[in-house]
């Protein structure tokens, strides 16, 4: 480029100099100066044209060529509208599906988290063999922070709920009580106001609060002078010290943020009790140069020391570390990666199909290409021109594909459960566009190169000599096309196996007995947080009134309250001691889920009573303590005896005085933690003997339970007008949400594999019908020699089935390898499930048969006389 500039810079000077010399020569020959100059100019010719031509010598040839090729490509595509439409649509489906899925991949797995150096942020939890990963106790966190050296900083965040009253509709909001260094450790600065101060960690700190950007917008209209104003949460005034930035993302919903000192003031026991582990998470920043492995080793050492030091609360408790990204993506990663792999396959199939189309068309253009080569066009030039043509096609497909992707992204964001995205926004952004552009470029190479190389092979020049009978493609091309069709079949098989496995898993999962009857049950939660409920009788009185008012609402069949509803996040667990049990090590106590319930709870949820009785209104605060256990607990602790009449207590025997609960009933196991997770030990105790301010109300209705919502809300607010009801959903919805990721995977995988099946069928159909068209002559001869039509049919179908057979065999091998990758998404079947593999193979074989049927019939109808007369 620079040479071009330098060479052209002095051109006009050179020309002027040249003309001057000629003029001088002419003057020396005796012309007048004026004539001499005119003659010189004449002899030189058109100066502008010379400059133009010279400039052209240096012009960028490839650019002009490319433009010409693009024009040529567009012309060719216009000339074959049918071919173009099919190819563009096929590519659009492939590219669109890729862009849509990639937008999710990017949003969830790739987009940088809005923190400073997010890769060194680690989420820490405690672990216990009884449950798995659990929350951290505050005293343990303080010890971790003091004793660790592999972390430069560590901060805790405790989930807190608040009731926001004094607005049109009272509501429950989520807050995070954080160590004062929490935001600065993440590298987040408040959008308005100030960050917390180190002094705000201690109990007794005044109530201050940061608002989330969205709460600031929705409840304060984005008031720029918000700092210094107050907000009333529960019945307390908090001074607003700032607003969080709009792009703030947290692992748990955060409407407000407050210093952990405020929480420690209100919950002094929780803050000091080492055995209290309730919704407290810890995030740490690795010190410079420290690996996760090293940090893990150090933390495990610390946890082991604490377990020895405080066996009552820490025996067998360990620590789990994970990068913050993993904490964000959690369960959805395998599903997303499986889907991303699936759309890649769809794209490959689409490319194979378009390559096939190109080959068919290439056959009819063989003569054109041969002629051009004969006339001296270089092979590279023709290949580059054909690649440009496929690139133009891919760009058209890409543009249409992006339009499809926009629709697809909308559909997918509805399919993906919101909590799975944990705040990630899925949209069409620069990264997705860039990805789509790469896919377009790559695709045009994949489907363009083989046909281009093929149709410019030197031996096609024999075409010219042969006079080319209707551009009959050589054996090479048939092989290439057959290979492409085979590849399509094998890719389609892999996708279908994936979809089949998902479908069977979901079917198995939904067939699991959850242990309760979700039909027509509505669940609503309430948290009594104001001062008026600080005494137990007030709490009990509130719940009693709610039950009385709701039970008489029209359409209500049953209503009850309880602390733990299956398939929700709210669970309580505690160590229990069975009477007469030999005392185990502190960490080995049975640790069942504890349900604190009103009478009618198991009946409302349809949990079966297996022995004894359920709770009644008589089981109140004055009556003897009673409890129920689930079948698993009964089997574990009373395998040979009747558990009715036996006693258990919460905590360890040292607790004094011991409060023994007499077992009065045994109920069925429930799948509290999801259909795929096995049942655990459970105990039930009456709410009047264990008052709780946070309960879920479950209501069984005669018809649509959701229709009862407003009547229930009115009933509750007639008791306390400021009491919010939240987390409202039907039990059916909870069941459905619990399988949402799997359902999304199934729906999309089903869609993609269906697409693959159709494209694969088109591929086989194309190859077979083309081969029939080419073999018309041969078939004619066979029939003239007396081959029965049946044999001709068998010949054609046999060819198709052979392709399908090879494709299916390769596909099965691939699926055996790849299905393992999705084993974490499967339930109740193995990744090599024979039925699925067999079913899918048969399905594909049938589709292939169908695809061959039409060309085979055409072959049967070949009239030998006609076929032979040609040529």
């Amino acid at each position: 480029m620079w040479r071009r500039k330098r060479m052209l810079k002095e051109l006009d000077e050179d020309i002027r100099e040249h003309i001057a010399r000629e003029t001088q020569d002419n003057i020396e020959r005796g012309m007048s100066p004026e004539d001499a100059r005119h003659a010189a100019m004449r002899k030189f010719g058109n100066v502008t044209q010379v400059m133009e031509e010279t400039r052209e010598v240096w012009s960028v040839v490839w650019l002009n060529q490319l433009l010409a090729d693009i024009r040529f490509g567009l012309r060719m595509l216009r000339k074959n509208p049918g071919f173009t439409a099919v190819a563009v649509l096929t590519l659009a489906l492939g590219i669109g599906a890729n862009a849509a899925v990639f937008s999710v991949v990017y949003a969830v797995l790739l987009r940088p988290l809005p923190y400073k150096d997010p890769s060194s942020l680690i989420v820490l939890n405690e672990t216990t063999p009884m449950v798995g990963t659990v929350s951290v106790s505050y005293p343990n966190f303080l010890d971790w922070r003091d004793q660790s050296h592999t972390f430069s900083e560590m901060a805790a965040v405790r989930g807190v709920g608040f009731n926001l009253a004094g607005v049109t509709q009272p509501e429950n909001i989520s807050g995070g009580a954080v160590s004062p260094n929490f935001l600065s450790m993440l590298g987040v600065r408040p959008f308005l106001g100030r960050d917390f101060d180190a002094s705000e960690e201690k109990a007794g700190t005044p109530p201050v609060i940061l608002l989330s950007y969205s709460l600031w917008q929705s409840h304060f209209g984005g008031d720029p002078n918000i700092v210094g104003r107050t907000i009333k949460l529960d019945d307390r005034s908090f001074t607003i010290v700032g607003v969080l930035p709009s792009n703030y993302r947290s692992l748990d919903k955060t409407d407000v943020m407050l210093p952990i000192g405020v929480w420690a003031t209100d919950n002094s026991e929780d803050a000091k009790e080492r055995g209290s582990r309730g919704d407290l998470g810890v995030i740490g920043r690795l010190a410079t140069g420290v690996s996760l492995t090293k940090a893990r080793a150090e933390m495990e050492g610390i946890a082991a020391r604490l377990a020895t030091e405080y066996p009552a609360s820490n025996d067998r408790f360990g620590v789990a570390l994970q990068p913050i990204r993993d904490a964000f993506v959690s369960d959805i990663r395998p599903a997303i990666l499986v889907l991303f792999g699936a759309v890649m396959f769809v794209l490959l199939i689409a490319c194979a199909n378009v390559a096939n189309l190109f080959l068919v068309r290439g056959a009819s253009r063989t003569k054109e290409v041969a002629l051009r080569i004969a006339l001296g066009a270089s092979r590279g030039r023709i290949i580059s021109q054909m690649l440009t043509e496929s690139f133009v096609l891919a760009v058209l497909g890409g543009v249409l594909g992006l339009a499809l992707a926009v629709a697809g992204i909308g559909g997918m964001s509805r399919l993906i459960p919101a909590d799975m995205l944990s705040g990630a926004t899925v949209n069409l952004n620069g990264a997705v566009l860039l990805f789509a552009a790469c896919v377009v470029a790559l695709a045009s190479f994949i489907f363009g190169l083989a046909p281009a190389l093929h149709s410019t092979k030197p031996d096609v020049q024999s075409e010219l000599k042969e006079g080319g009978r209707s551009g009959s493609a050589g054996a090479g091309q048939s092989q290439l096309r057959a290979a492409l069709a085979t590849a399509e079949i094998s890719l389609a098989l892999i996708l279908l196996v994936g979809a089949g496995l998902m479908m069977k898993s979901l079917y198995r999962l939904l067939a699991v007995d959850p242990g309760f009857r979700p039909d027509r049950v509505l669940k609503l939660e309430m948290d009594l947080r104001t001062q008026q409920y600080s005494k137990d009788p007030a709490v009990l009185n509130f719940w009693q009134q709610v039950l009385e008012k709701v039970r008489v609402l029209p359409g209500v069949e049953a209503a009850a309250v309880g602390t733990a509803v299956p398939l929700t996040d709210s669970h309580g667990r505690a160590d229990v001691t069975m009477e007469g049990m030999t005392a185990p090590a502190p960490g080995n106590y049975p640790h069942p889920d504890v349900h604190i319930i009103s009478p009618g709870f198991v009946e409302t949820l349809g949990i079966p009573l297996l022995r004894g009785r359920t709770f009644t209104d008589a089981d109140d605060e004055k009556a003897p303590l009673v409890g129920m256990i689930n079948a698993m607990t009964a089997k574990r602790f009373f395998p040979k005896e009747d558990p009715i009449g036996k006693r258990f207590m919460f905590g360890h025997p040292s607790t004094d005085p011991p409060k023994w609960y007499t077992i009065v009933g045994v109920v069925g196991d429930t799948r509290l933690y999801g259909l795929a997770n096995p049942a655990r030990l459970e105990v039930y105790v009456p709410f009047r003997q264990n008052p709780r301010s946070y309960m879920a109300l479950v209501v069984k209705s005669g018809a649509d339970p959701a229709a009862l919502t407003s009547a229930i809300r009115e009933a509750v607010q007639s008791i306390d007008k400021d009491q919010p009801l939240f987390a409202i959903s039907t039990m059916k919805e909870l069941v459905s949400n619990s399988v949402a990721t799997r359902r999304m995977t199934l729906v999309l995988l089903g869609l993609f594999s269906g697409l693959a099946l159709v494209l694969g069928a088109i591929g086989i159909y194309g190859v077979i019908s083309y081969s029939v068209a080419q073999r018309t002559h041969e078939i004619g001869i066979r029939m003239a020699l007396g081959a029965p039509r049946r044999d001709v049919f068998r010949l054609v179908v046999g060819q198709g089935l052979e392709l399908a057979g090879i494709g299916i065999a390769i596909g099965i091998a691939g699926a055996l390898g790849l299905a393992r990758l999705m084993s974490s998404l499967l339930y109740g079947i193995s990744a090599t499930d024979f039925e699925t593999f067999a079913g899918v193979s048969i399905l594909l074989a049938l589709v292939a048969l169908l695809a061959c049927f039409i060309p085979a019939q055409r072959a049967m109808r070949v009239d030998p006389t006609v076929a032979l007369r040609y040529e």
């Binding site: 020569d25 010719g45 052209e56």
Partner: protein
């Protein structure tokens, strides 16, 4: 119409100008005007070169690396660009000359088969 005796002038065949430039420069470096003059003079002024067409040709040859260019001063102390045959150009000249001989011979044989 000029009354002077008109020599029969022949327009150059496409591409032959390149050959003539290379041949001219074999004798030594020269500036543009001198090359044009030399071609006219050495062909007894039969070959009509529109002098301007020299320049695209020169640039083409530079781009191919067959000739090079350097700044200098001409005989009357004026600034000029001198074009010079490169080694590659020298080899190309041999090739082109052989090709030309072949072509000319072939055409001659066709035109005068009896000879």
């Amino acid at each position: 119409m000029s009354t002077k005796e008109e020599r029969e002038r022949i327009e150059l065949l496409q591409g032959t100008l390149d050959l003539l430039i290379l041949r001219t420069l074999r004798l030594g470096h020269a500036h543009g005007h001198a090359i044009a003059k030399a071609i006219e003079f050495n062909s007894d002024e039969v070959l009509q070169v529109e002098q301007g067409s020299l320049y695209p040709a020169l640039h083409r040859l530079i781009k191919r690396g067959w000739i090079s260019v350097e700044e200098g001063t001409s005989e009357n102390n004026r600034r000029a660009k001198f074009y010079k045959l490169t080694l590659k150009g020298r080899r190309q000249l041999t090739v082109e000359t052989r090709k030309w001989d072949k072509l000319a011979g072939a055409i001659a044989r066709i035109l005068r088969p009896s000879e």
